[in-house]
């Protein structure tokens, strides 16, 4: 990653930002809704990529934290009289807390064992949500959650989500550029060497997980803002897999890759899903093609094309 933006990049970003600001005024409501959903999934994928692509951790059940954020937000809004903003802050905090608890167990293990333990512990949260009818509504979930009037229209919720999403992107970008970000990538490349240069690897891994799950919680809250409902599928492992694929597809060693991955997957699901029930079949084909032809994802591929000597390594060594 480069250290400063060129004028070209700034112009490009400004153009995109202007475009997404204007779009809801000219496109049908359904597309605005879909775009908002893309931002939510993109934020979720980026939060995952912080630990997967940049941290090298096998965060296999990221959706569990997304679901915890969404459910906390929804439950506070529907079961208590607390104001919106408290619910909005509590969602990510609860997600971060669960990330800290589960992560605390997981960081003691490495690679696949880390992933398997996380699937087990995450599924536990899913099972609780799924079974606890009196609180969570079980497999029915909670629907028709009221939002404050200022963000209740499709366009208003779109802009609200866009603002939060942009803020989160900036913060994530800063984190990846910080000493912590470099340390995280060093841990991904070589945890043993990190220990040897005096870095408390497990502590840094845990911090990364907490940050990542905080952002997953924010994504969960934003999902409720778009969808007005929560259901157990939000923390089911299939969603975790889908988000993982978004990172891989977009380019897991790049910053913006997961956004692209989320856009592709959500669009496919939305538009192909209207023609066939078997859209996951297409997802499967994409995954196979991806592994063979774009092992570093779309953005990784483009970056390699643009700067061949700088990314002198092939993905084969991973």
């Amino acid at each position: 990653m480069r250290d400063s933006f060129s004028l070209k990049t700034i112009g490009f970003l400004a153009a995109i930002f202007a475009l997404v600001l204007v779009l809801p005024l000219v496109i049908p409501r359904f597309y605005t809704y879909t775009l908002a959903l893309i931002y939510v999934m993109a934020l979720l994928a980026m939060s995952l990529n912080l630990v997967v692509g940049h941290g090298g951790l096998f965060q296999f059940h990221h959706a569990a934290f997304y679901g915890v954020g969404a459910y906390t937000f929804a439950l506070i809004l529907t079961k208590t009289a607390m104001p919106f903003w408290i619910a909005f802050v509590a969602g990510p905090l609860a997600a971060g807390l669960s990330g800290c608890l589960i992560g605390g167990f997981c960081v003691r293990l490495t690679t696949l064992y880390f992933g398997m333990l996380q699937i087990a512990l995450g599924s536990l949260i899913w099972a609780i949500v799924f079974r606890w009818y009196s609180l969570t509504g079980g497999d029915d979930g909670i629907h028709g959650i009221d939002m404050p009037s200022c963000i209740s229209s499709t366009n208003a919720s779109y802009y609200f989500i866009l603002v939060i999403f942009t803020l989160c992107l900036i913060i994530l970008y800063l984190i990846l550029k910080s000493p912590f970000g470099i340390t995280l990538r060093a841990i991904r490349d070589n945890p043993e060497r990190c220990e040897t240069v005096g870095i408390n690897v497990n502590l840094h891994k845990l911090a990364a997980i907490v940050i990542s799950t905080l952002f997953a919680g924010i994504a969960g809250v934003l999902f409720v803002v778009v969808e007005r409902s929560v259901f157990p599928d939000l923390l089911f492992w299939i969603l975790s897999l889908e988000v993982f694929i978004m990172c891989l597809l977009g380019g897991w060693f790049t910053f913006s890759g997961p956004i692209l991955g989320a856009a592709i997957i959500v669009s496919l699901r939305t538009f192909v899903g209207t023609y066939t029930e078997y859209w996951t079949l297409i997802l499967g084909v994409i995954l196979i093609l991806l592994i063979f032809f774009l092992p570093e994802g779309v953005m990784g591929f483009l970056a390699q094309k643009a700067r061949p000597h700088e990314r002198g390594l092939t993905a084969g060594e991973k």
Binding site: D3, L174, K177, P179, T196, V197, E317
Partner: protein
């Protein structure tokens, strides 16, 4: 500075290190030599905390460091440069060293301030002193083996160690690269006043720069003394030099 007293370590019944003792004083260059499998690397890993001895003591600057995890040992001033290249292969040469510098400055937890403001001068200084300045922005995995070995050492320097442990610094290097590395090690000790503990198969290198030499054979330290005395020792000749 460092005192290792009769440490022992076995793997599945095989005694890798059995009753090894070692003493390193400040400012010294001490070499550990011995045939393959004598336990040199194991001894180093016992010192750096990667392995835990079954018995014996390791005292560094009057503190018992047995049982400390590697990152704690490093924070007390011991840096290890590996025998097999062990770098951050997807990151640039600069970042490789910067990570160690950031760790030394205790800044790895900084979240919101750009990394380009931290540890930059120290990193440049190290890269220039080892001669990697012009390759700073290359991805480290794409360097030649010799350069990677030098980077390996540069990372270890990032922690501004009091004691630098080099596990076969010239392993796999061409003769030219070896010569450059020897010069580098000599310069490091003269300019930075580093204390170095290293092991090496290149006897010329060992006898040209080491102040004292410790000889290991089958996990035991058989002698530790000045190069001339070691050279003339009968046990050493039997165990090692005589066999060549």
């Amino acid at each position: 500075m460092l005192r290792v007293e009769s440490v022992r370590k076995s793997f599945d019944g095989f005694l890798a290190v059995n009753d090894a003792s070692l003493r390193v004083e400040k400012g010294e260059i001490v070499a550990v030599i011995g045939p393959n499998g004598a336990g040199k690397t194991t001894l180093f890993k016992l010192i750096t905390g990667h392995l835990k001895p079954e018995k014996g003591s390791i005292v560094f600057k009057d503190e018992n460091i047995v049982g400390l995890p590697p990152y704690q040992v490093c924070r007390r001033g011991i840096s290890l440069s590996y025998q097999v290249v062990n770098i951050f292969s997807r990151m640039t040469v600069f970042e490789n060293v910067q990570v160690a510098v950031l760790s030394h400055l205790k800044k790895t937890g900084k979240l919101f301030s750009p990394a380009r403001r931290h540890g930059i001068e120290d990193t440049w200084q190290i890269l220039k002193s080892v001669g990697l300045g012009d390759k700073a922005h290359r991805v480290s995995g794409s360097l030649s083996h010799g350069d990677q070995k030098v980077l390996e050492m540069a990372i270890a320097l990032g922690n501004a160690p009091d004691l630098l442990i080099l596990d076969e610094p010239t392993a796999g290097m061409s003769p030219e690269e070896t010569a450059v590395t020897i010069e580098l090690i000599k310069r490091l000790t003269e300019q930075m006043g580093l204390t170095i503990l290293f092991c090496e198969h290149d006897m010329e290198l060992v006898f040209s720069i080491a102040h004292r030499i410790m000889v290991m054979h089958q996990g035991q330290s058989i002698i530790q003394d000045k190069p001339d005395i070691v050279k003339g020792d009968r046990r050493v000749q039997e165990a090692y030099l005589g066999g060549e």
